[in-house]
């Protein structure tokens, strides 16, 4: 694999790692394990952790996938490996 393609793959992996951290934080973190930390923040009769568990994490996932798709499109172009 050429040097360029190696760098492209490294950039992809960095982006994936970044997205995965947010993915884990919004679901396993805020919605479950870190819920006690957010218990002071009230949302509609309950706490923010409950909102993350029922809606918030899903919305974060959505944003993450589109963010990844958009970023990868420009990374593809930057390294000249996009589909013509």
């Amino acid at each position: 694999m050429s040097e360029n393609n190696n760098e492209y793959w490294a950039a992809n992996k960095r982006l994936i790692t970044f997205c995965m951290v947010i993915w884990a934080l919004s679901s396993y973190g805020f919605a479950i394990l870190l819920r006690p930390l957010l218990s002071g923040i009230e949302v509609g009769g309950t706490d923010l952790g409950f909102w993350f568990a029922q809606q918030g994490s899903m919305l974060v996932f959505l944003v993450l996938i589109f963010f990844y798709a958009i970023r990868m499109n420009s990374i593809d172009k930057k390294f000249g490996v996009d589909e013509q």
């Binding site: 909102w51 568990a53 996938i65 798709a69």
Partner: protein
Amino acid sequence: MDQTTLNIIVVGLSFCLYFGIAIWARAGSTSEFYAAGRGVNPVINGMATAADWMSAASFISMAGLIAFVGYSNSTFLMGWTGGYVLMAMLLAPYLRKFGKYTVPEFIGDRYYSTTARIVAVIALIVCSVTYVIGQMTGAGVAFSRFLEVDNTTGLYIASAVVFVYAVLGGMKGITYTQVAQYCVLIVAYTIPAIFISLQLTGNPIPGLGLFSTMSEGTAGAGMPLLSTLDGLLNDLGFNQYTTGSNPWLMALFTLSLMIGTAGLPHVIIRFFTVPKVSDARWSAGWALVFISLLYLTAPAVGAMARLNIMTTMWPDGVEGEAVAVEDLPDWFQTWQVTGLLGVEDLNGDGRIQYYNPGNPEMETMAAERGWTGNELVTFNRDILVLANPEIANLPGWVIALIAAGGLAAALSTAAGLLLAISSSISHDLIKSIINPNISEKGELLAARISMAGAIALATYLGLNPPGFAAQTVALAFGLAAASLFPTLMMGIFSRRMNSAGATAGMLAGLLSTCLYLFAYLGWFFIPGTAFLTTDQYLFGIPPTHFGPIGAMLNFGVAYLVSGMTAAPPQHIQDLVDSVRIPRGAGAALAK
């Protein structure tokens, strides 16, 4: 016109739509049969994926699943959506670049091994067949409930409908029917939800209504809906809605569902149908958009319907008198006939007391007020979705729409699973192992025959569901998480992973998951053959939560064995390099 006639008309119209699509989208080549000619727009594919993914259980049971437990069952919401993040970043674009037709085909080529391919076929068939049983029984139940035919007839009708468009059109027919089915099911789900949300909170968007305050004229006017619900449940001795159980087990279960979702072959193959690698990424996002429309509504529907039923049972609040038998609303009577709701006036006071007698704190109150047990004796969780149009006083055609929606959800998932099974038989077994010289025409015929065979098998299993049918969904997710997901991921992310490592890892994941499930649930789920009891869970992990552990064993064994054996040949390492790069995906379009 009575309700059954109306149901038959609406369901019949939806079937005509599916047949029309089947004739329009006939498959003329194997590429069309397996991958819809790779010409599906990413938004359209997202919609088809959403229908493929959301089963009869998502449509009919999920709101109830959440409403009866509350916070703890948010794991299903997060698990069944978070898997798409893994799919979008770790699998879909690269497998699309690889540009073949089945999941075992990638595993066989990447690990240059027929053994690996066969192990993958076995994992795929076990996952998909167990999953399809539930869809067929679900379709049968939906038919019998709405159209007043018996279960068996319902199942035959469902199989016949799937037969028409799946055998004719393969992936192409299934894709466009799934799009129509998605539209039917989302409209059917959303309309009653909007009305219920308006009645309770004045907010037309159910997802926002869930976190709003109650409208004037309702039981808890001015209070947040969730506080009202929590208060009522607490007063009647039920678990609070917004509090939870062991967080570590919740996290583990969520992870298990996420990895399982990403590893399920019938979802993965949907991403083979888009024209480009970048489309596969977009498409995963669109799939989640369309799934979220239902999944954001489901918890709201669950909570609101449960609140509605509580206030129906306690019209003057828990402090007042319970509802009198003759004051039960009409829909209550209707659904009692189906056996999903049932009341029994145990203490003979002419009123129906609904509370949790299992809670010791309720004993004093029950004794004081002369209650002798919970009198809402049957309260099926599916009622929360099925009875919604009637609870909200909506016209008959909305009820008919729910019937069509439930059937659309069951049929679309069944068709996707059947395609995964049949393409694996015709392409991975017949074309590559039994008769590699088969012509294009011959393979297309073999694919159609495999599809017909898979439908026959699924119908048979739907009619005679094995006793373990309920537990098999855990098996499907466990196997997808422990065998397929890690092997696919290592095939892309590790250039060094070789055939011996991958095969050993896949077997380790497969066998450890089966063993752990069988240990507590019985060998092949046969009752009485379990050799460990539920208080002997390894580290307290229930069998349903084992997926991530199986996946870790798969990764661990694979790296260990691979490290001790030779690196894969150069052309395989080149293959890995090529799937990582989007450029050139169009070349795979060549038939």
